[in-house]
Symmetry: C3
Subunit: 160 residues, 3 copies
């Protein structure tokens, strides 16, 4: 098989801490195996690559969403057993106890392993998230056509 399709493309739709964790583990695993790996963040997944600073949305709905859904890799809640925010602390503690990397450390590892971080333009528009609201390591803001092209040439494509 030729090298040019030794790729992995993962759509990160979910903003749940446990799913972001899974996405980052798989992405770093692919990169460690020598694959050219791309994480394509869309909708709630964008929260994982937001700075966590308050959003500067102008519209009323964008402001509301910015408050309810502030983002930042340290503010993600798990999909199960959240208990109004306690779950995040519980899981973080269980991961630390087991010497498993935190989601924040995993995101840094992904960046260090040259995993490409792409953000979906359309969902940023809908949720009123600007390029400045994202961490600087995000390579590009792209449309679905870019995702389709990458995914069609990838050995691994997942929707998380």
């Amino acid at each position: 098989m030729s090298e040019d399709n030794n790729k992995a493309t993962i759509i990160v739709f979910s903003g749940d801490m446990d799913k972001i964790f899974a996405a980052l583990i798989i992405a770093t695993g692919c990169a460690a195996a020598g694959m050219d790996t791309t994480l394509f963040f869309t909708f709630w997944g964008l929260n994982a690559i937001r700075t966590g600073e308050p959003v500067k949305a102008k519209g009323f709905l964008g402001k509301m969403m910015g408050i309810m859904n502030r983002g930042g890799i340290n503010r993600l809640n798990p999909s199960q057993f959240n208990f109004g925010g306690v779950g995040r602390i519980l899981f973080s503690k269980m991961m630390r106890d087991k010497k498993v990397a935190s989601v924040e450390e995993l995101l840094q590892t992904a960046i260090d392993l040259d995993v490409h971080l792409l953000a979906c333009k359309m969902s940023m528009d809908v949720l009123e998230i600007a390029k400045e609201d994202l961490i600087p390591e995000v390579e590009n803001v792209v449309g679905v056509a870019t995702f389709v092209k990458e995914a069609a040439n990838s050995k691994i494509q997942l929707f998380i």
Copy 2:
């Protein structure tokens, strides 16, 4: 690469408005890129291709499910920030404000781009949904064997 595997096959399991939106965006993106694209609707995903008319299920449980889970592309609720149905209106407004197509328009676009709409026979049986409860654009009601055959010959396969 031969033309005969220039395919994309997407399982739509979720009935959440935001995930249906993502599935339709990806499907229309694949079709626009010239791929032979199939959406395979199963379980809650079937709601996106239901007429929205009251279900004529005969069994007690089927009737109950028909009331709680009426379906229709305009009745889908988002997975996050639903607030008892207000979320649907909020997201629809945000999408309209940003001049993003609605899920209803996207479904029509997918149909116009010859995306194949298939429905899963087994989950229709379990949820007591009949062929007449689905929109006429649904090409076929099929089993898992059809999905496996399509997916194994596709460059892109996703579970949404």
Copy 3:
């Protein structure tokens, strides 16, 4: 196409009854079509391959998780319309009425069709689940590198 990539690899992240059902239907469909099929259970998906016996975790958090999240294929709840546990019974009844196999029977069918059951080491560590807490049919406890290798050589890869 050579026989050696006639594979399907499915990550089972979710512990929802309906998603486990979908994963098992797809896996048995792939196996029935002659594909070498692997289910890679991680996080909440591990519940589907737990014995259902009380967990013998030593740590406080592990004990708490063991109580809240006991596992066992017969204790899974659906993602929708759960109503505090009634949904499980409702769906089981609907499936029985329609003569559809239960999740428990489907798991056995998957085993009979030589579907490989693998468990994710890292999530077992985090959730304090030991090898003895899993059903004996689980072939192996593995890391992400094993998944990546399998998935990169598979025609079908899904994240459920």
